[in-house]
């Protein structure tokens, strides 16, 4: 090893505490990067392989009723490589040990052989015997959540007829990676599942003998999907089709795509934040090394080392730190990624999901680490290269201070000498002070962001479950019924109040754009289920026209006064043109809203409703549930408290888990910044502090000078940190916004207090740790040294 390199290693060793702080911060950023990018790639691969192996549908179309002979025509479409026609429906389930009725999507299996499209992976058990009408397959998430296994039976109400079904096997399908009930926001595996059963049995239940109501397609490679859709539409139009659609309208795939997008966002934003901090730490550490190395630099140059060689020598120490950080980040990233992959695999029941970050990820991580380190080192290294040898070898003049007459001058004159030292140093070295303030601000900001997320979630859940939806249960009927059915519902045990509800699944079209959404009809002055705007509070539905959520309006590029076309996707497939009355900002969902009566008239079912929102007396909860399980008109019952619980649980497990990691990383960063700043302040002031000790100042008095400067800068950083955190949180909330949720920034005072106190504690702790250096100050040595 060359002597200079040996010197370099010793230099880095000498500032090892700073080096550790830098490497940890870099490591945190890169760990998130490797984890998120790797996870995204792994999930993408898994999705691709899973879809390919199980022949995930490219297109689907649902109909009212089409004859089975149509299958041959559909299969003959040039772009289509495989087609399956099937029967699909909803059923209410009565499960042993469960008070509330659950519900399930029913999907028919082919009469013989495996599905050609959307094939299943059998997790346990066997395929149902086609000869036995009551044998079914259950999706794994549902079976796991309820502890159901082979041989268990499930009581189901199919199209108003109660049937006992026996579980033959447990299966998964690429079509149902995410399973959520219609109208529900979040998967609730214990409340909603998928049941696959024999075609004949289902055909009998739904009066669809020799017919089907859904077709799914695989396209041949290189097929034109738009042409295929047109060809399919031409064949099925007269059977009550609302048009063939692609994966962008298949709920499970939409969820997956959204998940991938969020991982990409995470990979882009958070690591950048850490890299900036790391660069900043490298900068202050290296600037310090070079300041203490002045005479060595002069010496090297006097010996004949070129400016470039000197610059490279110091740049290498930065790159070494980059390499350590990148190594730490790569290892931690893979570890985190594997952890996350196992969470994903269990949660979504992928047949396999291994964390496998592409080589390019690591290449990018290492490059980013080197770039951050080099960027941080740049200014300091250039300074080293520019030092003239003679100047470097001569004794440095004391840092120059000038008296100021402004505010600081007046303030300085009022202070005692020790405080004056603090104030003058802060004012005299504005860049150095600013970097410390900046670093501490960033730490506060990141913690503010980390603490804002849970507050936003709370706000969202509160708004949705306590303000917008005040019903205890939402009942949905198998088809539209006269509003008179409310009288029946009001007579159910425990019902205090029932409000009519109407939800039509519709396609909204405008200017060549179409979106499938729920159209929610509400009675005027609804008391239970209300539309709550983010800023405007409760919004009453317009007397005429339609209200669009902002996300939906943006997708359709529609504003108030514009006309849009809507078409039912179920029932009578009625089309109508309506005028947009207003735009609303619900936090949850991206639906459209109408006056209930107007909506019923629009779809030529005046006075008819599709469900009811009900307020219950909790003492009659069990009796109510027993009763509704026997009520044939019901297709589903959604219990708000259960939905809230499951939503909170999944937030805690997903968002909460990630949030914990961010908070931990933010803490590491806050600590890193605080320790670096404290150690560097001590190193810079060592001589002055030792002189003070010699002059008879006590340790406490000398500590005040050291800790006081840090404390002053940290306190100065508080408003900046809060401001920066607020801006970042707002920006991030926008970034994470999805179709389903909009995340408004929520002011969470506790979060700010936490961020401030935590960061200041880090600074104090760092200062106290460094303060012990005052006890070891070399009073004798400092008197003999020049500077």
């Amino acid at each position: 090893m060359r002597i200079l390199d040996r010197k370099l290693l010793r230099d880095v060793w000498r500032m090892r505490i700073n080096a550790i702080a830098i490497a940890l911060v870099l490591g945190c950023g890169l760990a998130i990067f490797v984890m998120a990018v790797g996870m995204r790639a792994s999930l993408e691969n898994t999705r691709r392989d899973y879809y390919a192996q199980q022949r995930m549908a490219d297109l689907a179309v649902s109909l009212v009723r089409a004859p089975e002979q149509l299958e041959a025509d559909l299969a003959a479409i040039p772009d289509v490589s495989a087609v399956d026609v099937r029967i699909s429906g909803l059923a209410l389930l009565d499960l042993p040990g469960m008070v509330e009725p659950a519900s399930a999507r029913l999907v028919s299996l082919p009469r013989s052989g495996r599905p050609r499209v959307n094939d299943l992976v059998l997790a346990k058990g066997r395929w149902p015997d086609p000869a036995l009408a009551d044998e079914i397959l259950l999706n794994e998430a549902f079976a796991d959540a309820l502890g159901l296994t082979m041989g268990d039976t499930v009581e189901a109400t199919l199209h108003g007829r109660r049937q006992t079904l026996r579980i033959a096997g447990i299966a998964n399908s690429p079509e149902f990676v995410f399973v959520s009930a219609p109208g529900e926001l979040f998967p609730q595996p214990e409340r909603y599942g998928v049941i696959w059963m024999g075609h004949e049995a289902l055909a009998r239940a739904y009066d669809l003998e020799s017919a089907f109501n859904e077709a799914i397609f695989r396209l041949s490679s290189g097929a034109n999907s738009e042409r295929a859709k047109k060809a399919i539409d031409a064949l099925v139009e007269r059977y009550g089709s609302t048009g063939a659609y692609g994966r962008d309208r298949m709920p499970s795939d939409r969820f997956l795509v959204e998940e991938l997008r969020q991982l990409a966002t995470m990979a882009a934003f958070l690591p950048a934040f850490f890299l900036v901090i790391a660069a900043f730490l490298v900068n202050i550490a290296l600037a310090r090394i070079i300041a203490t190395e002045r005479s060595n630099i002069g010496l090297l140059k006097a010996f004949g080392y070129t400016d470039g060689a000197v610059a490279w020598h110091y740049a290498k120490s930065a790159l070494l730190l980059g390499a350590i950080g990148a190594l730490l980040g790569s290892i931690a990233g893979v570890w985190l990624g594997r952890l996350m992959a196992s969470v994903y695999r269990d949660y979504y029941h992928f047949p396999r999901l291994d964390f496998d970050a592409p080589l390019l990820t690591f290449l990018a991580a290492w490059t980013a680490a080197f770039v951050a380190a080099a960027a941080g080192a740049l200014a300091a290294v250039l300074r080293a290269a520019r030092i003239a040898p003679a100047a470097a070898l001569a004794a440095p003049r004391p840092a120059s201070f000038r008296s100021s007459n402004g505010l600081f001058g007046a303030l300085a004159r009022r202070l005692d000498a020790k405080s004056r030292i603090i104030l003058r140093r802060i004012v005299r070295f504005p860049r150095r002070s600013a970097t410390t303030v900046f670093g501490v601000s960033l730490a506060i900001a990141l913690l503010v962001v980390a603490r804002t997320f849970p507050a936003v979630m709370d706000r969202l859940l509160d708004l949705h479950f306590s303000q917008a939806n005040r019903q205890d249960v939402t009942l949905s009927f198998i088809d539209a019924r006269s509003a008179a059915v409310l009288n029946v519902i009001e007579r159910l045990p425990g019902v205090i109040y029932a409000e009519p509800a109407r939800i039509d699944s519709v396609i909204l079209r405008r200017g060549g754009r179409d979106v499938e959404e729920a159209l929610i009809g509400a009675p005027p002055n609804a008391r239970l289920s209300r539309l709550i705007g983010l800023s405007e509070g409760p919004v009453s539905t317009p007397v005429s026209g339609i209200t669009l959520s902002r996300a939906l309006a943006e997708k359709l590029r529609a504003g108030p006064g514009d006309e849009i076309e809507i078409e039912q996707t179920r029932g009578r497939r009625i089309r109508a043109v309506v005028r947009v009355a207003s735009i609303a900002d619900p936090m949850v969902g991206s639906s459209a809203y109408m006056d209930l009566d107007q909506q019923a008239r629009l779809f030529r079912e005046p006075g008819q409703i599709t469900g009811a929102n009900v307020r219950l007396d909790s003492s009659s909860y069990a009796r109510f549930n027993r009763e509704i399980k026997e009520t044939p008109v019901l297709a589903g019952a959604s219990f708000l408290s259960l939905a809230e619980q499951s939503m909170r649980r999944s937030f805690d497990e997903g968002v909460g888990y990630m949030n914990f990691i961010y908070a931990a990383f933010a803490a590491i960063m806050a600590g890193g910044v605080a320790f670096s700043a404290a150690r560097i302040t001590l190193a810079e002031q060592e001589r002055d502090l030792a002189t003070l000790r010699v002059l008879g100042f006590t340790r406490a008095e000398v500590s005040y000078v050291l800790v006081g400067e840090l404390a002053a800068l940290a306190i100065l950083a508080v408003p900046f940190g809060c401001l920066l955190g607020t801006l970042l949180a707002q920006w991030l909330m926008n970034l994470f916004e999805t179709d389903m949720y909009s995340f408004p920034y929520v002011f969470n005072p506790g979060g700010y207090v936490f961020a401030i106190l935590f960061t200041l504690s880090c600074v104090v702790l760092a200062a106290l740790t460094v303060r012990s250096g005052i006890d070891r100050l070399d009073m004798v040595g400092v008197l003999k040294s020049r500077d």
Partner: protein
């Protein structure tokens, strides 16, 4: 002006010191040794030094580098501890003082002047003096202390705006403002040229005369020795010779 003041006081110095010597020593050193390291690599910085230093006396400690003079100064200043032996300051043992007591000792009795000035760069000349005055019981006003060393017109200059000699005189003013019983100077002119060095020494002598501070000046410059009442020559950790100057030379008479 300083020159004139000094000229008038210099004559009386020798008589003064002779008279004060009778009042009992400020420092009494017995068997003082300082060992750095252990075993074969141990270095004897001081070997069993015995010395008494009288009140108001100006003693020059002379010797080559490593002869032990700075080690002695550090021990007398309460910055370092001897390995063995005893140091009494006005009858009180420095050896038995703990860290806190040594800090108080420095705070109340000792003024330091260092080779490299050790001023606080962020404080002006006046503030550097006031820094010490804040913790002293009956200090000289900073402006007066700086006036004494001829810097009355540089009060609000920062160290970076002062020459080396001026900086060292600020250090002297800082050391004497608390009217210390002891003034310890380690190579006070080591980093200065002749002309500025003389000005600093003039200031030291002036302080010794005026406040009667017992003054120890460490130097390796033999000519500076003529300044003191006594000259203690160090070699290899021990005292080789002690000379008494019949008459102290004025700083202006020195050449080096």
């Amino acid at each position: 002006m300083l020159r004139m003041e000094l000229a008038s006081t210099v004559q009386s110095t020798a008589a003064n010191s002779a008279q004060e010597q009778a009042a009992g020593p400020t420092f009494s050193l017995r068997g003082l040794s300082k060992l750095y390291g252990e075993g074969a690599s141990a270095v004897h910085a001081l070997r069993s030094v015995d010395l008494d230093i009288a009140e108001r006396e100006l003693v020059v400690l002379l010797g080559p580098s490593g002869s032990g003079k700075s080690t002695l100064l550090n021990i007398l200043g309460g910055l370092d501890r001897p390995s063995s032996g005893e140091v009494l300051f006005k009858g009180e043992s420095l050896v038995s003082m703990d860290d806190r007591e040594l800090t108080r000792y420095r705070r109340e009795h000792v003024g330091f002047v260092f080779q490299f000035y050790n001023l606080i760069p962020s404080l002006t000349a006046r503030e550097n003096v006031e820094l010490v005055n804040e913790i002293a019981s009956n200090p000289l006003p900073a402006a007066e202390a700086l006036g004494l060393v001829g810097l009355g017109d540089r009060l609000d200059h920062f160290p970076a705006q002062l020459s080396g000699g001026e900086q060292q005189r600020v250090a002297v003013a800082r050391a004497i403002a608390k009217r210390p019983a002891i003034l310890l100077c380690d190579e006070p002119t080591g980093a200065l040229d002749v002309r500025t060095g003389v000005r600093v020494l003039e200031a030291l002598v002036e302080v010794n005369d005026r406040f009667g501070s017992t003054t120890l000046v460490v130097t390796h410059n033999a000519d500076v020795a003529r300044l003191g009442d006594r000259v203690v020559r160090f070699l290899d950790g021990g005292i080789r010779q002690i000379e008494t100057n019949a008459k102290r030379a004025a700083p202006t008479e020195l050449v080096w």
